[in-house]
Assembly symmetry: C2
Homo-oligomer: 240 residues x 2
DNA sequence: CGGACTCTTGATTGCAGTCAACTAAAGTGG
DNA sequence: CCACTTTAGTTGACTGCAATCAAGAGTCCG
């Protein structure tokens, strides 16, 4: 299986073999982090962009009052910050939800790759746009969707994103996170996540057993969760 | 007063006069939209990036169930989408909260400006990072902060952002939006916003009368709202 | 076979939503 | 200039979703 980063970017532009070689080169030396470890701690000065190659990670913030909010999930192939730039310091942390392997990339190297190939540039911008769209859709979930809708919506989103890197079957995928993680992403308590999951199972639209999520009726689940399958811009973008 | 776009970008890099001239040129022909009108409707194909020059605007999504969620506020000087790219279609709408004046910019023109000057490139990336950070902080608010904290946090954020374009006094600023708008941004009902505002006024940290917000004790308000003044990266970024 | 998570369930509490009525302010038009 | 309308803000009563607290069951793993 090719590198998930390359594999995902193919959805954003028609990459040539040369393009793919450049990208593959970027995603090179791997660092492994154990489950629940921090990839980058809050408040530190980042030295490189983080690309997730294996496992699931997240961006999160630990509040003074003890609560945790996960801002985004990162799947294999996901860049944890916008390409092209490094923040002066981390205003949030990057954490591993499962054991992960990451690559560290210099923004300069990515910008060079983008300059070298119009397709790479297009693909990277497309990826950035999709990441931003997913985060914004999370705002909508947190603000105006019920607990069950939030869960359903997330499951639809993950189905799409995992499919792009070949990690989803047509009827579901492995969901290697705990209910506490889901709660911290969706702004709920873990108890309420548990009850809402039961509610979803009761609809017959999906099953969740162990770490395996099976979606029996994606179309209906999307409707029930107010999910718009187009928002990740799977159709690409235009550099205009 | 100089153009707010230029004025804001000065915080992200040391722009030369030539840089500023280029940016000013981009922000040129103005289009006016009445309060509550749409700048760009959801589902349409955008033809240019939108830059807000005067007035307040927002990104929002209208749900099937009738609810509205505002995803971000845009102040004078704000670009409504990441520079450098156009989405194929709008998965959300851009609306005017007050009468606004906007400029339409071609992503190609912006990318050219970024290529022409390292400082412009740096400033634009810094701006993108700050916009993303603000959106992400909103996720934290929606997920894990109480109603009063959300309001207080927002007021602190706006103080900072407005100050960057010279639209805030040291002790407050004009807040030209309704309580319904605030509710739709913060994921609350307007009734609850009203009550939480009274609660905030009762603390003595701020007053809000008519369209004028006065912050009596910014430091305390920041602490009460779990606000981290550094998160907008006012210290700049590094292209590394 | 502990021990530590994770998940599940029950009981209770409370924050925030909904519904509804009313006030105040600001237009609008005859 | 004054009825009339519209919009924004305020208040009260009630409801309900989701948080919290607490305890028990299931699972994984050293």
């Amino acid at each position: 299986m090719p590198n998930p980063f390359v594999r995902k970017l193919r959805h954003g532009a028609d990459l040539t073999e040369a393009d793919e070689a450049i990208l593959l080169d970027l995603a090179q030396p791997l660092r492994r982090i154990e489950a629940r470890g921090d990839i980058v701690r809050e408040g530190t000065e980042p030295r490189a962009l983080v690309l997730v190659v294996e496992g699931w990670a997240c961006r999160y913030k630990q509040l003074e009052n003890g609560k945790r909010q996960i801002i985004s999930f990162f799947l294999p192939g996901d860049l944890c910050e916008p390409f092209g730039i490094l923040p002066r310091f981390m205003d949030h942390a990057l954490g591993a939800l499962t054991p992960v392997a990451v690559a560290h990339i210099q923004p300069g190297a990515i910008r060079n790759a983008a300059r070298a190939s119009r397709c790479i540039e297009e693909a990277l911008w497309w990826d950035l746009l999709a990441a931003v769209a997913a985060d914004q859709e999370r705002v909508v979930s947190l603000g105006r969707r019920s607990a069950a809708e939030r869960l359903g919506h997330l499951f639809c989103e993950l189905q799409l994103r995992l499919a792009m890197v070949g990690l989803a079957d047509p009827d579901g995928y492995d969901l290697p996170v705990t209910q506490v993680d889901l709660a911290d992403l969706l702004g709920l308590s873990s108890v309420h996540v548990n009850r809402s999951l039961q509610e979803l199972r009761a609809t017959g639209l999906l099953s969740l057993k162990g770490r395996r999520l099976t979606i029996h009726d994606l179309k209906s689940l999307q409707e029930a969760s107010l999910f718009d399958p187009g928002y990740l811009h799977t159709g690409g973008v235009s550099l205009a």
